[in-house]
């Protein structure tokens, strides 16, 4: 299988703190990768660097064999990388259907003068798909955490991605909601061939979803393998339980 997304020797420092240290891993086509690690181990920093929120101090990032290390965020998104945020970031003044529609808007002034963005019907389909039916005109402050996470997911899907980076998509959800989102992600994968990198503290939610897990600790690679094997790994246990 070909490598879809690859990170090589990634290092990111914030002042004296080394958030990510010489980290390398990759996601293969058709694969769902779990990214695990205790609090503050650098998972979100890895996501931010893949998205181009800030440049890495060293290391390279490849998407479909092309180097994207220096590309601006919006170009990476156009190539097919999307993300959700650990703390949902909805547009606070927009009803969620308009919020999701932003993801479909073209990246051009002229295109947006001509209408721009998907029709309400198509956006509704995306919203319906993630299970937001009947709540289209609600505002973010009226939604539960579960629905906010669905909005995050819908926004990412609206950009028509090839791979989605899911940052703690299960955090703060009820068991039923976790199951629903889990099912949704697996359906997306089967039907549309979407790939995911999933960051989650919730190991139980992660288990059925991921093909392979990469574990980091203090920004450093410590283990890699299938989920069952990883949770029994001595180094991983030590990282989690000290």
């Amino acid at each position: 299988m070909a490598k879809l997304l690859e990170v090589q020797g990634l290092t990111k420092k914030f002042g004296g703190l080394v958030a990510v240290n010489d980290l390398s891993f990759h996601v293969e086509e058709g694969e769902v990768l779990g990214l695990m690690g205790p609090n503050g181990s650098g998972k979100t920093t890895v996501f931010n660097t893949i998205m181009g929120d800030y440049p890495p101090d060293s290391g390279k990032i490849f998407f479909r064999g092309e180097e994207i290390t220096k590309l601006p965020t919006y170009q990476r998104v156009k190539m097919g990388i999307a993300r959700t945020y650990q703390v949902p970031r909805p547009f606070r003044e927009l009803p969620i259907i308009e919020d999701i529609r932003v993801g479909t808007m073209p990246d051009s002034i002229v295109g947006n003068f001509r209408g721009g963005g998907a029709r309400l019907k198509e956006v509704s389909k995306i919203a319906e798909d993630v299970g937001l039916g009947g709540r289209f005109s609600m505002y973010p402050h009226e939604l539960t955490m579960g629905d906010l996470r669905r909005v995050e997911l819908a926004k990412a899907l609206a950009t028509n991605p090839r791979i989605v980076l899911l940052d703690e998509i299960f955090a703060g959800l009820t068991v039923a909601e976790i199951e629903e989102i889990d099912k949704l992600l697996r359906r997306k994968r089967e039907q549309e061939g979407l790939d995911f990198i999933v960051v989650s503290h919730d190991l139980k939610a992660l288990a059925p979803l991921v093909d392979r897990v990469v574990v980091i600790h203090f920004g450093q690679f410590i283990a890699e393998g299938p989920f069952d094997q990883i949770v029994n790994d001595e180094k991983v246990k030590e990282a989690y339980f000290g």
Binding site: T73, P95, I109, S137
Partner: protein, 310 residues
Amino acid sequence: MCVLPLFIPLSITRLLVMAAYLAIFAMSWDMMSGYTGYVSFGHPFLIGLAAYVSAFLSHQEGFQPAHLVLPLYITIPLGIAAAVGGGMLFFLPSMRVRGPYFSLVSLAFMEILHRLIIAIRPEYTGGDRGLPALPAVVTGAVPNYYLSLGLMFTVAIGLWYVSRSNVGNVLNAIRMDEDVVEASGISTYRFKRFAFLLSAVTAGLGGAFYTHYLQSISPRRAFSATFLLDIIIAAVIGGMGTITGPIFGGYFLTFILEYLRPYLFGQWRLFAYALVAIFIVIYRPKGFYGIVQDIRSWFQRRRTGGEVYG
């Protein structure tokens, strides 16, 4: 509004002219700051640049050495071009910093231009005293009323069209969360640049015509903090990010300032309207426009039973 000058005294007509120009400046500010969230403290930089270029090129009498004198139909477009050029040259690089840092950088530009005009070749710029006796586009309060109204409506319709289009939606989203817009595959820089361009054109247009209405220009007035505050407060009390709000703000502020004159002397007036602005920002961040909108959506919700998107 078109037949209004027939029924009102000239003093009020003149006030209406001032209000129309303030409305133009407030809309210009709103296009940049209200929409993208990059709060400009340097709008007089754009306005003053256009005003000075047009004033300098069209100015004929006075103390400075003889130079090429151009008619207004050339100098005003050149003034606007200067505002656009200067704005792109200075404001665009400042977009690298966000929030209050951007505001401070833009404020610095205004002050730098202010100092430069005073210090460099005062025999041409008039230095601290400015340039008097500039040619007028039209003379008299009533013709100027129609001119200012025409300009104001042109700007309003143009910017309103932009704000109603999807471009306005993108800019609005940028104001709320720039990173998320970028993560939606949209180059926020492209859209901010467009908003800044429109803002500079509008500021230049207003600035050039305004200075020929006043028929004089001086650095102390063009780059004063009071002028800057008038613009910002007009936009804020009218409603940031609404385009039509700042029009109302411009008129409201002009008349409030005038009618408070007998009761509150000097700087106390500034204090009074600063208070109004603070209350609006705290309790109704969308200004008067927001209040109108709330009332309208209340009626709408009652009619449709709350569901707008089916």
